[in-house]
């Protein structure tokens, strides 16, 4: 692999890792508060549809982004209602949200746009444009560092940079603020939080809301930055891969960055090398497409080691006795 190809693969890694990272951080906030969220996928999908549809109609990517966040947060609220207020089973609620989003997005897209479950292609101001960082072009001739800066660091859309900044921000919120302390405590031992005079429910709702917000960013990124519009099931299991990355990262923000970059790299490689010949035999495209998912299983089964989830995860909080 020559240098420019490597750069291209890494550039593609960054773009593909971004939605995973946003969804992974979303799951991190929710699960750290004790609410398991298997519905990341559904929330991303809803956000992708809402943002693409709104952007297509209004021509504004910003309104699209807001709509995407709104759609995702609505589903997050639904999950919160069933998991926190009504103490339902969190897995079932999450699965239901995934089904709801998968069906509803296609039905609405077909009814509104008549393009076989897609939204119209987004053009111009209805999409996030790549941002060229200062001096990208002037520095390009500098050997090695120039192309790295111009190709890899510069030239992404706004949400990519937002996602990157969210990693230290999440770490800071979780470990350096009162809200973070309470959020982590409520995922480990809600009774301790309750007897300390803090509302378990309010803390968990806040966490679920953040989860909805971040999934909204992830979905909007898919439809208005990575692609130009919504197509059915366009999340393609990214919500589940984000969950896998979350476990791989052991529910910690910096490790989440590393894990999602790894999964992004796998996807980038699969995308780049669609036709590989091994010893004269051409590997089918499907094998390469399946590779990231197969490796997800292998990594989770073999390399994670002991991942200790938040102790109160998945358990609805019922005041004792």
């Amino acid at each position: 692999m020559d240098f420019p190809t490597l750069l291209q693969v890494l550039d593609s890694t960054v773009r593909l890792a971004t939605p995973l990272l946003l969804a992974c951080l979303a799951g991190l906030f929710s699960e750290r508060s004790g609410i398991y969220d298997i519905g990341l996928e559904g929330k991303m999908l809803a956000a992708a549809f809402c943002s693409a549809a709104t952007a297509a109609v209004t021509g504004s990517v910003w309104l699209g982004l807001l709509a995407g966040i709104g759609g995702s947060m609505a589903l997050a609220g639904l999950h919160g209602l069933s998991a926190i207020t009504f103490r339902g089973n969190q897995l079932i609620s999450g699965v239901a949200i995934n089904f709801l989003a998968a069906g509803l997005t296609v039905v609405l897209a077909q009814d509104w746009f008549h393009q076989g479950g897609r939204t119209p292609s987004l053009l111009g101001g209805a999409r996030f444009e790549a941002i060229t960082l200062p001096f990208a072009e002037t520095l390009r001739p500098v050997p090695v560092l120039g192309p790295v800066y111009a190709e890899l660091i510069s030239g992404h859309t706004l949400l990519v940079y937002v996602a990157a900044l969210l990693v230290p921000a999440s770490w800071w919120v979780l470990y350096r603020t009162r809200f973070g302390l309470r959020l982590r405590a409520v995922g480990e031992n809600p009774e301790a939080v309750d007897t300390a005079g803090v509302s378990v429910q309010a803390t968990r709702y806040a966490a679920v809301a953040i989860c909805g917000l971040l999934c909204g960013l992830a979905g909007a990124y898919l439809a208005t930055a990575l692609q130009a519009g919504f197509s059915r099931d366009m999340t393609a299991g990214r919500g589940y891969i984000a969950l896998a990355a979350l476990i791989f990262a052991k529910w910690r923000p910096w490790q989440a960055l590393g894990a999602t970059l790894l999964f992004g790299l796998l996807q980038a490689i699969a995308l780049r090398y669609q036709n590989i010949e091994l010893g004269g035999v051409g590997l089918p495209v499907q094998v390469m497409d399946a590779l990231p998912y197969i490796l997800t299983v292998v990594i989770l089964a073999g390399f994670v080691g002991r991942a200790i989830p938040p102790r109160a995860g998945g358990e609805p909080y019922v005041k004792e006795r």
């Binding site: 302390l181 009774e191 301790a192 939080v193 007897t195 300390a196």
Partner: protein
């Protein structure tokens, strides 16, 4: 302790807590009925009562977990509304629960500030708490490493963290729910010293316990609850354990266990160099050697988690081990295919496990079904090979329940609908009625009411007098001293020594439980 002078000094100020006609019902169950209570400032006030007498409900109302249906709460003479824990904390009430409410992966400091942080950022709060903790440690003998993680601390330390949490929140009134259940005697003594210190600084302490000895030693005033009612409030100096027990149960109770001297016969159980290493590679039992003879009770004392449970599990066939165990000279299979409960029963061992709800009974099953578990392959209980004779089992169960005074005597009720004491009687009935050579019994009266304790103890003694061997494991030193003929003490998976009950006392056993070797065993 609190003499008359003491009482006179505080009589002028308003009581720390005054409850007026508190009532609380859960559906048809009236957990608290018209309860009035006055707790004077600067005293240690004990509350005793059997399980289900309503102590915990009352304290939960005081701490804002439940809302009383009727009644009034006055703190320092002023009526207050306590809707949640936050209100209780604001009113100056701190609570140390029986099951600690700590976040295990957090440090001591983080646990202490949780819920009372000074601002949105943690740093200033942590710094302030560090200083306050140092001060509290100096004032009350409450030393704890502020940066230790809770999961690395022992129970005694965790309890200190709970007390520190309450004091950090500037509690004037401290409620402790069964605080000594998990402590060694030395740790318990330390706790009572801390409580005395707190009292002398003007704090008010409510101590909930079922250990009458602690009430007598530590409190100034004691209130007794029975069936949701407050039956009496007495000056501790004016009462006796016997009177308190009678008030709790509503009839005369024998606190001392009457027993005849043992007539030990042949050696039934022989344990030699038993070792157990758990999945994490930690040695749980190291070179344990013991023997129990027919017609005697060997008591195994120790703080919970020092290997007693593992020993019972090995003997009950629930856990593999290395070493030798012989029953009447016959070697047991400790790690091979013969290491299961069934072959142990066949060898004449009956087992009343420590956790009756997880290991002794299947809670949602009927009492009659539970009455044969472990013995269900007995041909006498089958109508044809592989088919259970349910009618016969049911009538068996009915007899058993009558003989063991299980209330209500209805074999069609699910095991979970009996009280703790009656569940224990179900298990005991099943195991004792099989007439075993050796009875293993773990924590026979944990969570069992005083009235039922007496009955259970008598049954165990009867079995001994019938010439059977009994191995008794209990964390209640009183129970060990009352029932056993000989006592072995465990600490850290080792036998620290053996004593004849008649030649030892609580102090010596307490030292051995804390890991100090007595005279050579």
């Amino acid at each position: 302790m609190a003499g008359a002078a003491d009482a006179g000094a505080v009589a002028t100020s308003a009581p720390a807590i005054e409850l007026r006609s508190i009532s609380k019902a859960f559906g048809p169950v009236r957990a608290n009925r018209d309860i009035s209570l006055v707790v004077r400032r600067g005293t240690i006030h004990g509350i005793v009562g059997e399980n289900g007498a309503g102590k915990s409900t009352l304290m939960s109302i005081l701490y804002g977990f439940y809302k009383a249906d009727a009644g009034e709460i006055l703190i320092g003479g002023r009526p207050v509304q306590i809707g949640d824990s936050h209100d209780a904390i604001r009113a100056g009430i701190g609570m140390v629960f029986q099951h600690f409410k700590l976040v295990e992966p957090f440090t001591v400091l983080e646990n202490v500030i949780l819920g009372t942080e000074d601002g949105a950022l943690l740093k200033p709060s942590l710094a302030k708490a560090r200083g306050t903790l140092r001060q509290l440690a100096a004032d009350y003998e409450l030393e704890v490493d502020p940066d230790a993680r809770i999961e690395d601390l022992g129970v005694g330390m965790r309890q200190r963290v709970e007390i520190l949490k309450a004091l950090y929140r500037q509690a004037d009134i401290l409620i402790l729910d069964e605080p000594t259940g998990v402590l060694t005697p030395a740790e318990a003594d330390h706790l009572f010293r801390i409580l005395e210190n707190l009292k002398s600084q003007g704090k008010t302490i409510i101590l909930i316990t079922h250990k009458l000895r602690e009430i007598m030693a530590a409190t100034d005033t004691v209130s007794v609850m029975r069936r949701g009612e407050m039956t009496a409030t007495l000056r501790t100096a004016d009462t006796s354990p016997a009177e308190l027990a009678e008030l709790m149960v509503g009839r005369k109770v024998l606190l001392r266990i009457d027993k005849s001297p043992a007539r030990p016969g042949r050696t039934v159980l022989e344990i030699e160099k038993l070792c157990v290493t758990d999945a994490q590679g930690i040695a749980r039992l190291s070179d344990v050697s013991l023997s129990v003879r027919a017609g005697e009770i060997l008591g195994l004392a120790g703080v919970a988690g020092n290997g007693q449970s593992h020993l019972l599990e090995v003997l009950g066939g629930m856990r593999p081990a290395t070493g030798h165990v012989r029953i009447d000279g016959k070697e047991l299979d400790l790690s091979g295919p013969g290491c299961d409960g069934r072959s142990r029963r066949a060898a004449g061992i009956a087992h009343v496990p420590e956790d009756r709800q997880r290991e002794g009974l299947i809670m949602p099953f009927h009492a009659w079904e539970d009455s044969v578990f472990g013995y269900h392959t007995d041909p006498a209980l089958q109508s044809a090979p592989g088919l259970m004779d349910n009618a016969r089992i049911r009538s068996h169960a009915e007899d058993q329940m009558a003989r063991f005074d299980v209330r209500p005597p209805n074999p069609d009720l699910a095991a979970q609908s009996f009280s703790g004491g009656n569940q224990q009687k179900l298990v005991l009935a099943r195991e004792i009625e099989r007439n075993p050579d050796l009875l293993l019994v773990g924590q026979p009266t944990r969570g069992v009411d005083i009235g039922a304790i007496e009955f259970i103890h008598r049954r165990i003694l009867e079995l001994r007098d019938a010439g059977k061997a009994v191995l008794l494991v209990s964390v209640e030193l009183d129970e060990i001293l009352g029932l056993s003929d000989r006592i072995a003490v465990m600490c850290g998976g080792r036998i620290m020594g053996e004593r004849l009950t008649s030649e030892t006392d609580e102090t010596e056993l307490g030292l051995m439980m804390a890991g100090m070797k007595g005279k050579a065993a």
